[in-house]
């Protein structure tokens, strides 16, 4: 059994600093396979506490147009699971904290245990699974335990209290709260579903709660940081990285500053 390198150290540190953690998402292989590790390093250097390395997938039913286009570009450039693992290793070596976000099809094809083993060996801390609910996760529960990886399942505004309790009881590291009923993508407003969902989730778990979907500005980050333990940013970073890495780094820094609680 691999030593469990949980994300709990990250949240202990951000709590100590009285701020929310900043989690940044990019698909692996974006803006190109060659530049991908640099893009993630820019996220780490800019101040992301955790980086989400997305496995680009051909049929991403939870992704909005920005992330889907980025993933399509990464796939067209030949990005494979092997590249994802190489990038995870590069991030870890650089001092970042990588977790992988992936649809379930690539993992089942690779082999659930083999994926967990190779991810842990590459320095990955856990897995976010947008289309794997705990009800179907028997094999993953065993493999993640075996290889010491965190299991980050999602909760949604439509989740019942029973499901919140069941899902969070299977989570480790943190709980991913979807801010709204919808796919990924920058939005003008975060909306009022997220604070209510976080409040309901806190009643059933002591795990840190991260809020994602639609977060893009320092104002959004300040708003989310006031009630959640982590702020998750995806599409806004994808758009910035597509422009240039320096701009992406500046955005990360601006958002990181906004994580501070007064």
């Amino acid at each position: 059994m691999t030593e469990h390198r949980s994300l709990s150290d990250v949240f202990a540190a951000t709590r100590e600093a009285n701020r929310a953690a900043l989690i940044g998402y990019l698909p692996a292989g974006f803006p190109s396979r060659k530049q991908s590790a640099d893009a993630f390093r820019a996220l780490v250097d800019g101040g992301c506490d955790i980086v989400e390395v997305g496995m680009p997938y051909s049929d991403p039913v939870m992704d909005g147009p920005t992330i889907q286009a980025a993933a399509t570009k990464a796939l067209a450039d030949g990005t494979k699971i092997a590249d994802l693992l190489t990038i995870v290793e590069a991030i870890s070596t650089h001092g970042g904290v990588p977790v992988v976000m992936t649809y379930w099809a690539p993992v089942t094809r690779y082999g659930v245990d083999a994926f967990a083993r190779d991810l842990a060996n590459a320095g990955g801390r856990g897995l976010i699974t947008p289309d794997l609910i705990p009800d179907e996760a028997g094999e993953w529960l065993v493999a993640s335990e075996q290889h010491g990886l965190d299991r980050i399942f999602l909760v949604a505004p439509s989740s019942t209290d029973e499901r919140l309790a069941m899902t969070t009881s299977r989570c480790s590291g943190f709980v991913y709260a979807a801010s709204s009923m919808g796919v990924t993508g920058a939005r003008d407003q975060i909306g009022d579903l997220a604070p209510r969902l976080v409040e309901r989730t806190r009643r059933v778990t002591d795990l840190p709660i991260g809020v994602g979907l639609g977060v893009r500005t320092p104002e959004h980050v300040r708003e989310v940081a006031s009630y959640a333990d982590a702020v998750i940013v995806g599409s806004a970073f994808v758009t910035a990285v597509d422009h240039d890495l320096r701009q992406a780094g500046e955005l990360v820094t601006a958002l990181r500053e906004a994580t501070a609680r007064s």
């Binding site: 039913v61 889907q68 399509t72 099809a105 089942t108 094809r109 690779y110 179907e136 439509s158």
Partner: protein, 404 residues
């Protein structure tokens, strides 16, 4: 009448296949659907309402027809289950009327659907118009071009048709887009899945609503021809017409069940949609089944001349029937299907859907194998009006005026 089957189990598994690989945001809606359906299928009022729609609106029971000239050509008895005679021209109406009724019962006001050839889209638009529901249909851009007649039909019926430009711009991409819509609109919207794929309970529910095909066919075979057929044949894309007719004969072990997949240029080539022949076990669109995918789990693009079969996945119950050996699945190329298309046109005066022509091609093959005493029951799942442009181009008969 809705008949069930021994599978799936309570978690939606057919042996090792099936399940619910979905975002958490959809779980509440799927649970609600499951609950309403479980109650509806034993509710006499719901069943009576559904049955009345099938009889008075869809035109059921559909005929069982002895195709004598085709039989003479093939050298055995061929019976056609005429689902092409249903309102909107295919078996798709059976499922859609049931799901539209459920939508109303759940208090939702909008339906969305994905469609390849357009038959499911037309059926959904039809049921939505009938029941006063809003309707949006997602269709790959490639398919909107090759099935423009059905696009016009859906629009005339009041549906919004959205051409999907992502991915291979065919059925699987339309399904992705419909899922995205559903995640964002689930409070008011029901996703009316058209085939026996997707997360549980869809494969079960779509099968049950189409099982009327097999139930009728079995009874008609006995009443009209004094016994059961030797083999039941159907085309398989996602697999809804096949599972519908198979459902009536699963308990009759002496009846062989055959599904014919679209091999495109050949199952050995990259231009194919023969999922059960060439694919591997994987997850696509919410369930674990056979999928055409690469070593990294990325879905491969499929190819078939038939927009309705051009899909790289297949319903989990077919994967189960293949694994248990209860049904056999064989590939049929575009050329074989189009030869069978022409054969039915010329021998019986029936223009079949290109989908159904794959099953007819299977009959041509099986007739030789099973011999003159055999009775083959072929599910003629749809009519070919929508495919006239494709077939016309294939046979080079469009726009040709012969003068003397």
């Amino acid at each position: 009448m809705i008949t069930g089957n021994a599978v799936p189990d309570s978690r939606g598994y057919y042996g090792e296949f099936g399940g619910r690989f979905i975002p958490e945001a959809l779980v509440a809606a799927i649970d609600q659907l499951t609950e309403f359906y479980e109650k509806a299928k034993v509710d006499p009022e719901f069943l009576a309402e559904y049955d009345a729609l099938l009889r008075n609106y869809a035109g059921r029971p559909s005929r069982l027809y002895h195709a004598e000239r085709l039989s003479a050509e093939l050298g055995c008895r061929v019976l056609l289950k005429r689902e092409d005679l249903n309102h909107t021209g295919a078996h798709k109406i059976n499922n859609v009327l049931g799901q539209a009724l459920l939508t109303k019962k759940m208090g939702k006001t909008r339906v969305i659907a994905e469609t390849g050839a357009g038959q499911h889209g037309v059926a959904t638009a039809t049921a939505a118009a009938l029941m006063g529901l809003e309707c949006t249909v997602y269709m790959g851009e490639v398919d909107t071009d090759r099935q423009s007649l059905n696009v016009a039909r859906m629009r005339l019926l009041g549906a919004e048709v959205v051409a999907v430009r992502s991915g291979s711009r065919t059925l699987k991409d339309a399904m992705n887009e419909a899922f995205r819509d559903w995640v964002a609109s689930v409070d008011t919207t029901h996703y009316c899945i058209g085939s026996v794929g997707g997360p549980h309970p869809f494969p079960m529910l779509v099968r049950d609503f189409n099982s009327v095909v097999g139930e009728e066919a079995r009874q008609q075979c006995i009443e009209q021809y004094g016994g059961l057929p030797d083999a039941v044949l159907a085309c398989v894309g996602g697999g809804s017409n096949a599972i519908g007719i198979f459902a009536g004969f699963l308990g009759d072990e002496q009846v062989r069940l055959y599904g014919f997949e679209a091999a495109g240029d050949g199952a050995e080539t990259d231009r194919t949609a023969a999922t059960l022949t060439k694919g591997g076990v994987g997850v696509l669109h919410g369930s674990l089944s056979y999928v055409l995918q690469d070593a990294d789990g990325q879905t491969l693009e499929s190819h078939s001349i038939s927009a309705g079969l051009d899909y790289p996945g297949v319903g989990p119950e077919h994967a189960y029937l293949k694994q248990t050996g209860r049904a056999s699945y064989l590939p049929v190329t575009d050329t074989e299907a189009m030869d069978a298309f022409r054969l039915l046109c010329r021998t019986e005066g029936i223009i079949p859907a290109i989908e159904s022509s794959h099953a007819l091609a299977g009959a041509v093959r099986l007739a030789k194998e099973l011999g003159p005493e055999a009775t083959l029951l072929v599910n003629l799942s749809g009519r070919g009006d929508k495919d006239v442009a494709t077939a016309g181009e294939w046979f080079d008969v469009i726009g040709v005026t012969r003068t003397t």
